[in-house]
């Protein structure tokens, strides 16, 4: 009786092992990507990377803080004088962003300025996030001010405060502020194309 059981069990185990091994080697769920799709994905990733190179640059991230304190400079140091978000992203009751920052850069004093100079809302905090987390935050209507893709694309490519990044003026010592790492026309084209391709965030 015992010998007969072994005779049955050994072949079953062998067959199971062979089946498992063949599944690992050649997954039946694998769908090959066509060359066109691969090219499209590559282009989308490139557009994404260009856009993110800009969004993580100091000209953008300094006004998306994670602690309600605006940052300054290429080193992202906390804004001098204890300035903070205040109740409406515009500073305190009397001393506001517009106490010093006007609607244009002032090259005499080196104080930067643009229309609607303010911090991004607290829900749009990007400082300290990975590129993927920033992109996810940006696409999330709960955190992006309820914007859909079309509205986001316009915001990222047309809003004057965003475009200020490419015309940041000079510092108090007269030296020019650092520009984002991607030229403006390339950035705009990359953002538009990335949204047109479905705004796919690549895995990190």
């Amino acid at each position: 009786m015992k010998k007969a059981s072994i005779v049955y069990v050994i072949p079953i185990l062998l067959v199971t092992g062979i089946l498992l091994a063949s599944n690992l080697k050649a997954p039946t769920a694998y769908i090959p990507v066509s060359s066109n799709e691969a090219v499209k994905k590559g282009a989308s990733d490139e557009n994404y990377n260009k856009m993110m190179d800009v969004l993580v640059s100091p000209r953008c991230i300094n006004c998306h803080p994670n602690d309600n304190i605006p940052k300054q400079g290429d080193d992202g140091h906390p804004h001098y004088f204890g300035m903070s978000r205040g109740e409406n992203n515009l500073g305190y009751q009397a001393t506001k962003c517009t106490t010093c920052h006007q609607s244009e850069n002032n090259d005499y004093s080196g104080v930067p300025g643009a229309p609607e100079w303010s911090l991004a809302p607290a829900s749009m905090m990007w400082e300290g996030l990975s590129r993927k987390e920033i992109a996810e935050s940006m696409l999330d209507p709960e955190r992006n001010g309820g914007r859909n893709h079309e509205e986001l694309m316009h915001h990222l490519t047309e809003h004057e405060l965003v475009l200020w990044a490419w015309e940041p003026g000079v510092r108090a010592d007269g030296t020019p502020r650092k520009l984002p790492p991607v030229p403006l026309d390339e950035y705009i084209s990359a953002v538009k194309q990335w949204f047109e391709d479905g705004a796919v965030i690549p895995a990190e």
């Binding site: 001098y80 004088f81 204890g82 300035m83 903070s84 305190y92 009751q93 009397a94 001393t95 506001k96 517009t98 106490t99 010093c100 920052h101 006007q102 609607s103 244009e104 002032n106 090259d107 005499y108 004093s109 080196g110 104080v111 300025g113 108090a172």
Partner: protein
């Protein structure tokens, strides 16, 4: 270019080549109102603080072209020796200034604060009065700000 505005209740028109010239320079060098001071020239110290349409502004970073049609108040327009502004009265009572250079900026910032926050707490003062005083008269200024609020509120009641 010609720029017209009202300063301390008087209408003024200035003819200036560069509209981006800081309003501070126009106030001091063209209108000869020397109460507003040049400190750092980069909107950091607050010595040049004035009010434009009742809002606190650093005049060293404010292009004169933005003043077109606006109402501007400098320390000279805050009060008079006979009828001082509550902030000026409090500053006298608390004997605040030491060298005095930065004080007009502090007083203008305080006047602007009291318009927005009639009874400022110490936190309100810390957040809004961020000018710099090299003599470190901050302790007396804090007392004077509270006193100015008291004088202003009593005069309104």
């Amino acid at each position: 270019m010609k720029i017209a505005f009202t300063i301390n209740g008087s209408s003024q028109t200035v003819d200036i080549e560069d509209g981006n010239t800081p309003l501070l320079w126009v106030i001091r060098d063209i209108l000869d109102l020397k109460g507003t001071k040049f400190g750092c020239g980069k909107a950091a110290c607050g010595a040049c603080t004035i009010m434009v349409e009742g809002e606190e502004v650093r005049s060293c970073s404010y292009a004169v072209k933005f003043a077109e049609g606006k109402k501007i108040t400098t320390i000279e327009g805050l009060g008079t020796p006979e009828n001082p502004h509550p902030v000026q009265q409090a500053w006298i009572e608390e004997v605040v200034p030491q060298c005095g250079y930065c004080q007009p900026g502090f007083m203008m910032a305080t006047a602007a604060l009291l318009e927005k926050v009639p009874n400022p707490t110490d936190d309100d003062i810390d957040q809004n009065i961020i000018n710099v005083c090299r003599c470190a008269t901050y302790y007396r200024m804090r007392k004077a700000i509270h006193r100015a609020a008291e004088i202003k509120n009593n005069s309104n009641s």
